[in-house]
């Protein structure tokens, strides 16, 4: 049973107590504890259940690499799954629950899986659940969904109350890792005058040097670390950041760092996480190394732990997983754990060393302190169901015949170390196999390269394979200086002298015992989180999965949230052995960002709630909001769909708005319409190319409707062009088209017609534009008073004028999208709201009625006017819509002309625009198809047309629609059958609706109303 030691713990404050709950039970820890150390101190050994077999699992590691101790953190709104207990700093009131247990952590029904491991071998998804098919849905899937998986998904109805943000920084050197190598690199870079950001993922500087008893310049490492931090803090060009993990390195020196600002002290009004988005010239990865487990039978039982992690728990937090620990190793470093345990007053019955000899300084010390050291020995099994009771020893080079049982309650294992090369690899840095240390380290000849083709990442210290503290510091200095010289920074001076025990060579041990039989191999865990064992990788190899990438996916090795931090090299070595290949030839999987998972909140940053996305507001938006507007999104605008009065339905509001406009006076906020000024000697020529019609012949003071097509001939936008003067035009675009069309113009001007003298400016937002529509439109403007003559004679249809209306600076356009007498009045945006209010006040006697987009759509449909996005969908050309009148026959060219001459575009069989009237007066379903006899090659019903716009018209008192129909204009009066999704009364085939082909102009076909 794990325990809190009576004293010790360099990071905790024993004078204070912090309380928290785990699975509902209240427990205590100290400030400075991690959740992991506090649980260990509270005697909790089993912290979770494994993914497939539901085996009880405890802590393996003490940091970011922890595969087992994942918990649900928080509850309700703040609940977050898959949080590593080892990287969760304890705070008062923390709540955590264990994951993947069913029904309880201690008694789990899924554990039966482990008794029949044949049920879930490598590739079991692919093999087992194929037949019979119905079983998948009804038997296997529900079972797997219940038993597999890790944390509980957050409640979708809850909203995360925390805030997040991002921060952009530009610097010269980013250093990842605040151990002695990272600090030394920062000192070198800082003294050289480089701008530096130094990030450390934990809450403490110094890494593991203080735990390992390293001395620097004759003093304990801690003293040197404090001095180094102090010196760095005083440097203006160096920025230090704790609890900040460099998560990813990308092209062009882009680095993402993940700062956990207040995870350790929540409930204050500070951001929870902050995502640093950094541009840097160079990256130094002082990311250290991770210890590897040893693959012996039962190595996943709670109480079996990495030797270095056990040392961390004892030295940093004064806790231990047990009172009697057997150490099993293939190297000298693990002896430090045995010595640390002795120092803490704990028992070490023996050290099991797989090497034939152990004569280094550390083994000698261990022997001198009375520890029994067994060489050439391995572990054949671990006794105990939910913890360690004893280990069974055997000869390492043998099948695992048990020679002795050693009673113990914990096992510290060390299979050697692997440098953390992730940041080197993210951008394509290659690795080389280090034979002596049995690990991959960065290949200095093949670094990740930046935009100049130069290597821009350097691993230093243990991350570069300099694992022994004495070489770590020197390596950090040399590598950093080299990198600094590449960016023109020079530094000299002596390197601090490091003293640490020398270490004899390790011996690679990939399987313990070396010639274990199948039964034992099925109990040697490689990937703890995903339950992948030595036997699974060997099975994959036998089944032909020779590539490491394929083996990974087949067995799920290294695919868990820890991304193989512990399992990678061990799994690779087993695969290499099974294939009878060298490890470097088998290769490794690719490390991809992020180093450990980062929160979705940090990725979203501040973009949530009201600033989730920019919502564009017209000058009149406030009035809409205060007057019952029901909004619909149009681009990033929110336009009123209709204005509902109390107790009114949307439909009734729309009908009221239309009737008022057609009989008296309607007002529309048309400010969102795109407005682009096009000016220059070549402006006319330019617009002639953009539009299908002729614009250069337009007279100043006049307006013309135009169609814009893309190079493929398809209709992309429409609108009215007003000629301002000889060399300038005002182009109106659709609301959604303003930015796109402006970009389209600049694209052609900058890349194709760069020598044409044309300037454009998008002034959409400079004006509030209000459509004053209806028989009383002129009356209300006259009432406001104007220095303009607004009569039909002075300002006829399709003309414009500039002057004062009611004292406002106005541009008045006689254009109509409703078929009524209509003035679109543009005033400067700053005067927009006042002008709107003035119109409402003056229009009160005419029942001035603001209307929304739906009324706008119905009124234009009543007139047979097309709408971009309704009648067009990117496959429609103007000719399909009967708009031949808007296509100039005289012009030699315009964008889309050539495409419109292609055979498919000129085919008489293209569907063409017609009006549609249902025989029963109902409204046709939107998107409905006109069915035709027979079926096509796919057995689907043939079609001969489709509905593009369909509305109830209060003016006509019936449903009206427009659609594209085969040979439509030639079939006036013919009745077509349209499909619906409504079932017939008897409930068989859906009903169809009969509709007659008519002219698309339903209302005022002569256009008399707009010309008064």
């Amino acid at each position: 049973m794990s325990l809190r030691l009576p004293d010790g713990g360099r990071l905790i404050d024993r004078s204070q107590t912090v309380s928290f709950t785990f699975n509902g039970k209240q427990l205590n820890g100290h400030p400075g504890d991690t959740l992991a150390s506090a649980l260990m101190g509270a005697g909790r050994t089993i912290l979770g259940r494994s993914f497939k077999y539901h085996r009880p699992r405890g802590l393996v590691a003490s940091g970011a690499e922890e595969p087992n101790a994942l918990v649900n953190l928080g509850q309700g709104k703040t609940h977050e799954p898959n949080q590593r207990a080892t990287t969760t700093e304890l705070f008062d009131g923390l709540t955590a629950t264990s994951q993947n247990h069913w029904p309880s952590l201690e008694w789990d029904i899924g554990e039966v899986n482990a008794l029949i491991p044949r049920f879930l071998p490598a590739g079991f998804y692919y093999k087992t659940f194929i037949h019979p098919r119905a079983f998948w849905k009804h038997v296997f899937e529900p079972f797997i969904r219940q038993s597999a998986g890790l944390g509980k998904a957050p409640d979708p109805k809850q909203t995360d109350p925390d805030r997040y943000e991002q921060f952009y920084a530009h610097t010269e050197v980013v250093i990842a890792g605040g151990g002695i190598a990272g600090l030394q690199a920062a000192l070198e870079a800082g003294r050289a005058g480089a701008r530096v950001i130094l990030c450390e993922q934990t809450g403490h500087w110094g890494g593991r040097a203080p735990v390992d008893g390293v001395e620097v310049d004759g003093k304990p490492a801690e003293a040197w670390i404090n001095d180094a931090v102090q010196e760095l803090e005083a440097m203006e060009n160096v920025h230090l950041r704790l609890r900040t993990m460099v998560a990813g390195v990308y092209d062009h020196g882009y680095v993402i760092a993940y700062e956990r600002v207040s995870d350790h002290a929540p409930a204050s009004d500070i951001p929870r996480h902050r995502l640093w988005r950094i541009r840097t010239a160079r990256v130094i990865a002082a990311t250290g190394a991770l210890e590897r487990p040893l693959s012996f039978p039962g190595n996943d039982k709670p109480g079996v732990m990495l030797a270095s992690a056990m040392r961390d728990y004892v030295v940093n937090w004064g806790v231990a997983p047990g009172a009697r620990t057997v150490v099993v190793t293939n190297n000298d470093d693990a002896y430090r754990t045995a010595l640390a345990l002795l120092d803490a007053g704990l028992a070490v019955p023996c050290i099991v060393d797989a090497r034939p000899r152990a004569e280094g300084a550390l083994p000698q010390q261990a022997r001198a302190r009375g520890i029994r050291v067994l060489t050439a020995t391995g572990i054949a099994g671990v006794k105990g169901l939910r913890g360690v009771v004893a280990v069974q020893l055997c000869a390492q080079d043998g099948p695992g015949t048990v020679t002795e049982d050693v009673v113990c309650d914990a096992v510290a294992m060390s299979g050697g170390w692997s440098p953390v090369v992730h940041l080197w690899s993210h951008c394509g840095g290659k690795l080389t196999w280090d034979q002596d240390g049995a690990f991959f380290r960065p290949d200095p000849d093949r670094p990740p390269t930046d935009q100049h083709g130069e290597g821009f990442v350097a691993c230093v210290g243990a991350a570069d394979g300099a694992l022994i503290a004495t070489s770590t510091m020197e390596n950090a200095s040399i590598k950093t200086r080299k990198m600094l010289s590449e960016i023109g920074k020079m530094v000299s001076g002596s390197v601090p002298a490091v003293t640490a025990a020398t270490e004899a060579p390790m011996r690679p041990v990939w399987m313990m015992p070396a010639t274990a039989g199948p039964k034992k191999r099925a109990k040697m865990w490689l990937d703890f989180q995903n339950d992948v064992k030595v036997s699974d990788v060997q099975l994959a190899a036998r089944e032909g999965f020779e590539s490491v990438e394929h083996t990974k996916r087949y067995t799920t090795l290294g695919m868990a949230t820890d991304q193989g931090k512990l399992s990678n090299i061990n799994g690779l070595a087993i695969l290499a052995q099974a294939l009878d290949e060298d490890i470097p030839r088998v290769g490794t999987t690719t490390f991809r960002p992020p180093y450990t998972p980062i929160s979705m909140g940090a990725i979203a940053g501040e973009a949530r709630g009201t600033i989730f996305q920019p919502l564009r507001r017209t000058p009149i938006q406030g009035w809409h909001e205060a007057n019952g507007a029901h909004f619909e999104p149009v681009g990033h605008w929110r336009r009123p769909y209709c204005f509902r009065r109390k107790g009114e339905s949307h439909r009734a509001a729309v009908n009221r708005e239309i009737t008022a406009t057609r009989t008296s006076l309607g007002l529309l906020d048309a400010s969102t319409l795109g407005k682009i000024v096009v000016k220059g000697p070549d402006a006319g020529r330019f617009l002639d190319m953009l539009y299908t019609g002729m614009m250069s012949s337009l007279k100043p003071g006049r307006c013309r409707y135009g169609l814009m097509c893309n190079e493929n001939g398809f209709l992309m936008d429409d609108g009215v062009v007003a000629r301002l003067d000889d060399d300038s035009f005002l182009v109106h675009t659709t609301t959604g088209g303003a930015d796109r069309i402006h970009a389209h113009m600049e694209d052609w001007l900058q890349t194709e017609w760069w020598d044409w003298q044309v300037y454009t400016a998008n002034i959409t937002e400079a004006f509030a534009q209000i459509a004053v529509v209806g028989p009383k439109a002129r009356a209300v403007l006259d009432k406001l008073g104007s220095d303009l003559d607004l009569s039909n004679a002075a300002l006829p249809f399709m003309s414009w004028a500039e002057g004062k209306i009611g004292g406002f600076d106005a541009r008045v356009f006689r254009i109509s999208f409703s078929g009524e007498l209509s003035f679109e009045v543009a005033v400067p945006a700053s005067q927009g709201r006042a002008f709107w209010d003035a119109l409402l006040a003056a229009g009160a006697e005419f029942d001035a009625t603001p209307y929304g987009t739906e009324a706008l759509h119905v009124m234009r449909a009543e007139k047979g006017f097309i709408m971009i996005g309704d009648e067009t969908d990117g496959t429609v050309i103007p000719q399909d819509l009967g708009l031949d009148w808007a296509i100039s026959k005289k012009k030699p060219d315009y964008l889309g002309k050539r495409a419109q001459e292609r055979p498919h575009m000129t085919s008489p069989d293209r569907w063409k625009l017609v009006g549609l009237e249902t025989l029963d007066g109902s409204v046709l379903p939107d998107g409905s198809y006109a069915v035709a006899p027979g079926t096509n090659a796919n057995g689907q019903r043939n079609t001969q047309g489709r509905v593009t716009s369909t509305y109830f018209s209060p003016t006509m008192g019936r449903g009206i629609a427009m659609g594209l129909v085969l040979h439509g204009p030639d079939r006036m009066g013919e009745v077509l059958e349209f499909n619906t999704t409504k079932a017939s009364p008897k409930g068989e085939t859906p009903k169809t609706v009969m509709a007659r082909i008519v002219s698309p102009v339903f209302h005022d076909p002569e256009g008399e109303k707009q010309n008064v």
Partner: protein
Amino acid sequence: MSDATVSALKGAEARGLVTLRDAGLTGMVTLRADLATAARAVKRVTGADMPGLRRITQGQGCRVAWMSPDEILILCEHATARKLAFDLTEALTGQHHLALDVSDARAMMALTGEPGPLRDVLAKITPADIAALPLGEMRRTRLQQVAGAIWFETETEARVICFRSVATYVFDLLAMSAREGGAIGYH
């Protein structure tokens, strides 16, 4: 109608790590032209020298900011922008150009505070190198999801321009970035 004119933000203000406020209606005239040939006319109308890359120059009652190799922005009193655009058009007769009053297409905000927090708050919403932005330089950039421009009047006051329709978004964005508790201490 000057009494009825309103800025997009109507004098909004927010306090936090720095103080954010609506800078009110500001005259803005955009000029697109060959800047070298237009320099004399610009000097005659504004009194300002043609600014170099990203710089701002001072004129009589106005300032001229470099926007792109063929575009400058003239900042002036809101009431004089229209006339200034007209005068520029007159002065540039014969030279291909486009001078427009775009005052109402934009919104301007002012941020005041200690130099460090001021730059920190801005660096939360723009990828531009805020640390390297000197006084007298205008930086066109991205304010998270929209376009904008930033410059420093003094080390303790910055100005932000964006399009009018997204003024509320940018204001809320800055207010959130400036909220107490979000101090960084980088700049």
